[in-house]
């Protein structure tokens, strides 16, 4: 729970419809979530299931068609600025400004979150040390490797010490070593009390990192629980060998391994 006693994230009947030339697309069809403070929560689903759309609604980037969502006790539609003060976001592609240096970017973010110039510089230095980018701090981001960009992106999301950190596929495209570094960072950040909401297509990642997870398919949540609970539920229903999270995912989404190939990747870091 947060200072105000509310869960870190609460969503009730969250719906998103897009209107296009080919009619209305129902991207999210009624998502309910309640995530207590301090968890690492995994949000899994095949491509196009509604993961990113849900995250974008929770982070105030997308309007909500129906339902409501609160982050750190703040209604994201009614008070988006207050919600933005409570959240940090890092998306699928580390969207950074390639013409700035790592330090300039962090100082700018600090200032945009209301820190004074000296405070922002101090916080940037702290974060650069935290993500081990001090040596590259004054180089333009354009020259950073993928792993360095993700670490800087993570640092940028932490400038204002958010209550809830949203990470949309933070390790996609990273090599195993960089992926492990990001995992370590996430555990450390979570250890300091920040709730982490993580979307991923890597089931191994979810199994390793997440306290609880939900699987979304076709805009609806089809499973929710701890990784062990979900696996044991499946074992009870099916019997036989100890299922993996892959088996849970395939069972939940009604996909076969063949169909899922290309939609879900398994990694062993």
């Amino acid at each position: 729970m947060n200072d105000n006693g509310a869960p870190a994230i609460r969503a009730e009947g969250l719906v998103k419809h897009y209107s296009g030339r080919e009619g209305t697309v129902e991207a999210v069809r009624g998502v309910d979530l309640e995530i207590p403070s301090g968890e690492i929560f995994g949000f899994l689903g095949p491509n196009g299931a509604g993961k990113s759309t849900t995250v974008r609604m929770l982070t105030t980037l997308l309007s909500i068609t129906a339902g409501r969502a609160e982050v750190a006790g703040v209604d994201v539609a009614r008070d988006p600025d207050e919600a933005r003060r409570r959240i940090g976001v890092a998306f699928q592609e580390a969207g950074l400004d390639p013409r700035q240096t790592g330090r300039e970017l962090l100082v700018l973010h600090g200032r945009l979150f209301g820190l004074g110039a000296d405070q922002a510089k101090g916080r940037a230095q702290q974060l650069l040390a935290l993500v081990e980018l001090e040596d590259a701090a004054d180089r333009r981001i354009k020259g950073y490797s993928g792993g360095m960009e993700r670490r800087l992106d993570l640092a940028a999301a932490l400038v204002h010490e958010p209550d809830v950190l949203f990470l949309d596929e933070p390790t996609t495209g990273l090599d195993p070593a960089s992926r492990l570094t990001v995992w370590e960072e996430l555990r450390r950040i979570n250890g300091q009390g920040t709730t982490v909401f993580l979307t991923t297509q890597y089931l191994e990642e979810a199994d390793q990192l997440c306290d609880r997870l939900a699987i979304i398919d076709d805009g609806r949540i089809v499973r929710e629980g701890t990784p062990d609970q979900l696996k044991s539920d499946l074992r009870e229903r099916r019997g036989g060998e100890e299922p993996t999270l892959d088996d849970v995912f395939l069972d939940a989404t009604g996909r076969t391994r063949e169909r899922a190939a290309g939609e879900v990747q398994e990694v062993v870091a």
Binding site: T60, L61, E82, F91, E93, G95, L112
Partner: protein, 251 residues
């Protein structure tokens, strides 16, 4: 306001770190100034051409050079690059007024416009071009050119926000660009052929050009100057309102 200033400073840094783009912004308009003057100076000798008010043809061409330079702003291209790259969403996820994202870029564009216009005029002075309206006229020329740069960039930003595509934003520039040339840029409006005169009269850029030209060739002629400022005021207000509306409703 502080977010707009912080983002404006970032945009200035961004522009300074693209010296090749700044060089082209300066080089292409000056190239046209030299070429156009070279081609037509003998047709319009200063001694016998009344509309030159005793100056060379280069002075007559200077306004289009200034407007061209002001229309080469990179704000919209940097903005659409950020939309495509995802940094725009990072900014939208911060507790800052959304308008500061577009206004920061436009504020930087206005400063850039002031510097570029001043540099172009300073380059032109040794070649016999004088500012007949004096130091105040110089300031008005620089201010008007910079304001036009802001208006142009604001319209380009609208395309960037609407299309979210670099290719479409680039093409959008081609739609606005002919407006610079449907003007009395080679001879005064009354010497144009009738269809061109009608087109130039309907084109708001004509009034900007005539305001700039009067400041360069004659003294402070407010009857010519004020319509130029009125055009940037009206177009600027429209562009700003549309920019703010579009970024507020951006989904």
């Amino acid at each position: 306001m502080s977010a707009t200033i912080a983002l404006g400073q970032r945009s200035l840094r961004e522009a300074l770190r693209q010296p090749d783009a700044l060089f082209m912004t300066l080089f292409i308009p000056i190239f046209f100034l030299v070429v156009n003057t070279g081609q037509a100076a003998d047709i319009f000798p200063s001694e016998s051409t009344g509309f030159l008010e005793g100056q060379g043809y280069g002075a007559f061409q200077l306004p289009i050079t200034l407007l061209l330079a002001a229309s080469f702003g990179m704000a919209a291209l940097f903005l659409v690059e950020e939309i495509e790259g995802g940094y725009f969403d990072k900014l939208r996820a911060m507790p800052i007024p959304r308008y500061s994202i577009v206004l920061g870029r436009l504020a930087a564009e206005s400063l850039k416009g002031i510097v570029l216009s001043s540099v172009i005029i300073l380059i032109a002075l040794p070649f016999g071009i004088t500012i007949a309206s004096g130091p105040l006229g110089f300031l008005l020329i620089v201010g008007l050119s910079a304001l036009w740069g802001v208006v142009y960039a604001a319209f380009m930003q609208l395309i960037a926000l609407k299309t979210r595509s670099a290719a479409a934003t680039n093409s959008g520039g081609l739609i606005f660009f002919p407006l610079l040339f449907l003007t009395p840029n080679f001879v005064p409006r009354e010497l144009l052929t009738e269809p061109m005169e009608v087109a130039a009269t309907l084109n708001p850029v004509t009034y900007l050009m005539e305001a700039l030209r009067s400041l360069i060739l004659v003294d402070l002629d407010w009857g010519q100057i004020l319509p130029g400022f009125a055009v940037v005021a009206v177009l600027g207000a429209v562009a700003l309102v549309l920019n703010i509306r579009m970024i507020r409703n951006y989904d």
